[in-house]
């Protein structure tokens, strides 16, 4: 049975995962527009690539969850995703410059640039949901209930990420500052998951030792 604290941390992590995905997706429009414009097909490219990478991520996360599911792997998704945002911050212009020179049609240009910038980080973020379900589910009967809860928090996160980014973040910060914020938050989530895991383990171990000692005494 999973500890209540771990359960809360995982749900919060899934919420922030959903939030981050939509923050990056919305900024995608901003990032691509200097090279490919803000025509409707630029959004088409971005949404296509996000949906595609999420679908790959779900599949990969689900597969991974069958092999020794544990919070350490779960935490690594956040940490890896955080590092995969760096190329968007530092190499976006270089990547888009190359694509712009080779591909004349901005539809395919924006599609290829989206693949280069967003496919991998979004896929890693997509692994979070199915993996969290595996961590949260302790028996078959309530698996649907857990999945429902998980979709609820992660999609609520996505909704709020969309709203906060488009209404406020772009008004207060620069695009790269928002991306940096996302990096920091994903790292913090990863670290929090690890910390909770080790703390709970330690507590469980000392409790077990205490029990064993008690047994010897009696």
């Amino acid at each position: 049975m999973i500890h209540t604290l771990m359960r809360l941390v995982i749900l919060l992590a899934a919420f922030i995962g959903g939030f981050s995905i939509m923050t990056i997706e919305l900024l995608g429009g901003r990032i691509l527009s200097p090279y490919f414009g803000s025509s409707v097909y630029v959004w088409g490219s971005i949404i296509t690539i996000f949906m595609l990478s999420l679908s790959f991520g779900y599949l990969a996360g689900g597969n991974l969850s069958t092999r020794n599911p544990n919070p350490r792997t779960f935490a690594s998704f956040f940490i890896i995703a955080a590092f995969l945002i760096f190329p968007i911050i530092y190499f976006a212009d270089f990547i888009m410059e190359q694509v712009f020179q080779v591909i004349i049609d901005p539809r395919y240009g924006s599609l290829v640039a989206s693949i280069g910038l967003f496919l991998i980080p979004t896929a890693v973020l997509g692994m979070i949901s199915p993996y969290s379900i595996r961590l949260l589910v302790s028996n078959e009967e309530h698996s649907g209930h857990v999945a429902g809860q998980l979709y609820f928090v992660s999609t609520l996160g996505s909704a709020l990420g969309t709203l906060a980014t488009s209404f406020y973040f772009v008004l207060w910060f620069e695009v790269n500052q928002i991306l940096w914020g996302t990096v920091v938050i994903l790292l913090l989530v990863g670290i929090s998951v690890l910390a909770t895991f080790y703390l709970l383990n330690k507590a469980a171990n000392s409790q077990q030792e205490g029990l064993q000692e008690g047994q010897y005494e009696s």
């Binding site: 959903g18 995905i21 939509m22 901003r30 527009s33 200097p34 090279y35 490919f36 414009g37 803000s38 025509s39 409707v40 949404i47 949906m51 999420l54 779900y58 712009f100 020179q101 004349i104 901005p106 997509g126 949901s129 979709y151 992660s154 999609t155 996505s158 209404f167 772009v170 008004l171 910060f173 620069e174 695009v175 790269n176 500052q177």
Partner: protein, 311 residues
């Protein structure tokens, strides 16, 4: 995130239904309000709803009528040469800085009255027009007497992409008109320092840049500091009767008032046919700073223009 995907499937129809209700309920009401105005054409494009309204001899192009947008551009069908709007006329103040353009770029077609006047005035000049919306191009041709010719061509493309391509191809223009803002929405990537620097790169040394924008709200300050950041100095051209302002700038130092007046005198007669009172313009071209210089410069990293406009 799966629910996200679901949103895409179910959210769109709801939005469409909402828009449809708005159209059905609000549009006829608007039509009744203006007694003699008659809707002669409606077209929904990827970007907006285009409505052509005729009121007596005046025919107007309106974008997004259901959210209360006003006329984008108008013509007098009995006298199509005449420029009906003051801002359209005002954009010809650029001629005071560059009186003999050979290669012209117009970003934003609208009803096409600016490029039509330019090709009329300078038949030998090569004019490139970039317009994002093919439907606007079609409506301009069908209802606003716009026609391409050997020297004047329309490219359906986002202006930013067009300018970036032109930079790569090392094309230079000596007269650039930025007229890409509709009443309801600012293309934010066309108002950043980086974009203006790209425009700078496609300007020949003696080129003039004429930008038609708004004169109201906090956005005015941001836009002004952004132009100032890239071009140092510009003519700020406002008329009390108009909510628009025209920014006129060049790579060379701006001409003195005297030069502007003598240039205006040379043009008076030629521009009279189009109803452009060019002689009144030099006195209104101001270089004095009337905006808050502490505002942030708009960049590709920070360009919430549409959010700033409402403040």
């Amino acid at each position: 995130m799966k629910a996200n995907f679901k949103y895409c499937l179910t959210g769109r129809p709801f939005l469409l239904i909402a828009v449809a209700i708005l159209l059905v309920v609000v549009l006829p009401n608007l039509a009744f309000q203006s007694v003699s105005a008659e809707v002669i054409h409606e077209q929904r494009s990827l970007y907006r709803d285009i409505t052509v309204v005729q009121n007596g001899p005046r025919r107007c192009l309106i974008f997004n009528v259901h959210i209360g947008d006003r006329n984008q551009t108008c013509v007098d069908i009995n006298d199509p040469e005449k420029l009906v709007f003051s801002y359209t006329r005002m954009s010809f103040a650029g001629l005071l800085v560059q009186p003999a353009p050979q290669r012209i770029l117009v970003a934003g077609l609208g009803g096409g009255s600016i490029p039509m006047t330019l090709t009329d005035l300078f038949p030998d000049a090569q004019i490139d027009i970039v317009e994002i919306d093919r439907a606007v191009f079609e409506v301009a041709e069908d209802f606003f007497f716009f026609a391409e010719n050997d020297n004047m061509k329309v490219t359906v493309m986002d202006a930013r992409v067009f300018v970036k391509r032109a930079v790569l191809d090392r094309v230079k223009y000596d007269y650039i008109v930025l007229d890409a803002f509709t009443g309801d929405y600012i293309p934010e990537h066309l108002l950043t320092r980086e974009f203006l620097m790209e425009v700078q790169q496609i300007m020949s040394p003696e080129a003039v840049l004429v930008a038609n924008t708004f004169s109201t709200s906090r956005f005015y300050d941001h836009e002004s500091v952004t132009y100032q950041d890239v071009f140092d100095e510009f003519f700020n051209f406002k008329l009390p009767s108009s909510g628009n302002r025209i920014i006129i700038t060049s790579l060379l130092p701006l001409p003195q008032r005297g030069e502007l007046i003598s240039q205006a005198q040379l043009f008076t007669e030629r521009l009279d046919d189009y109803g452009i009172p060019i002689l009144e313009y030099p006195a209104r071209l101001s270089t004095s700073v009337d905006w808050d210089m502490s505002r942030r410069v708009l960049t590709d990293q920070f360009s919430p223009s549409n959010l700033l406009r409402d403040n």
